[in-house]
């Protein structure tokens, strides 16, 4: 999954979001080892110091931990990951509902739209 970095917002915040996403989606499963700061910075084409800040924050939040000799790892605590997943989901849902109500949909209309989509997706 390529990194999508926007120059309009602080990059450090975007890196945190993207790594959270990578962990939640399973790209970096629980307990897996992350590439070095340098490698990640190169991949994302960002400043290594900025990447370091992002990783440090994620460590603070408990999503990552550092083993002094073998590097950085995703936490094995699935609850922590679940919490983050839920937080992200909540943000997406809130955003979605806001947009839909702006368009003038009622809650019931939104629900039936979702159900209709659910059938489509099942057929794929």
């Amino acid at each position: 999954m390529p990194w999508s970095i926007d120059s309009d917002r602080p990059i450090y915040a975007q890196l945190i979001e993207q790594i959270e996403l990578m962990i939640c989606s399973g790209l970096y499963p629980p307990g897996s080892r992350l590439p070095s700061v340098r490698e990640l910075a190169q991949e994302a084409a960002v400043n290594p110091n900025t990447m370091q800040r992002a990783l440090a924050k994620l460590e603070e939040d408990g999503l990552l931990y550092t083993n002094r000799t073998s590097g950085r790892f995703v936490t094995e605590d699935v609850n922590v990951i679940k919490k983050v997943k839920n937080k992200l989901a909540e943000e997406h849902v809130r955003e979605f509902l806001k947009k839909m109500t702006e368009l003038g949909f009622t809650f019931d209309e939104i629900l039936s739209l979702i159900n209709a989509k659910k059938e489509e997706v099942k057929d794929e």
């Binding site: 970095i5 120059s7 602080p10 450090y12 340098r38 084409a45 400043n47 290594p48 110091n49």
Partner: protein, 232 residues
Amino acid sequence: MSKIVECKNLCKSYGSKKVLDNINLDIPSGKIVGLLGPNGSGKTTFIKLLNGLLTPTSGKILIDNNTPGVETKKIVSYLPERNYLNDWMKVSDLIKFFKDFYDNFNADKAYDMLGKLGINPKDSLKTMSKGTKEKVQLIFVMSREAKLYLLDEPIGGVDPAARDYIIDTILRNYNEDATIIISTHLIADIEQILDEVIFLKEGQIVMAKSVDELREESGKSVDSLFREVFKC
């Protein structure tokens, strides 16, 4: 974190024309700094003062606590905005040259990077395209284990793929004991790798801040901010 560059009341004039006016600046090591400003703002003059190609008219400039001279030239690696390597020497001869004069030149690294580009060490620069020449010059500069890298317009005049290569090379060779100063007006392509930016206008520093701080405060990219600050 030590200071790799220290400027106090630095001024440079050519006759009556003042090109740099009272520059006060401290740059720590381990940073990638963008030196941004329109043409004629004094960027190149500032860089030449850092590498000893110009002497100040007044004020103080220190590189790693030394005034520019033989000792600072050992730890400063400079990429000028022109073809400064001679045309007729073979690449392998140039590597020997750099090895001879610079103790901290890493020939293996240079050969490695050249190899990845498919450049034959037996070729001379004469036979290469403009884009390839610029990449070669960058390789020589980044193969030095210097404390201060000065890159003057490293991505100007090359195609977007070459730009990616150059940015990648810069990141790849970054080390936390060194500082890289990139002078450019092509901000959008490079702002993601910067720690800090210095905006230079008519010889004066109008802004010197960390990049994320700037984005947070203004809600804009450095590129947009630049356009605002330097609107004609």
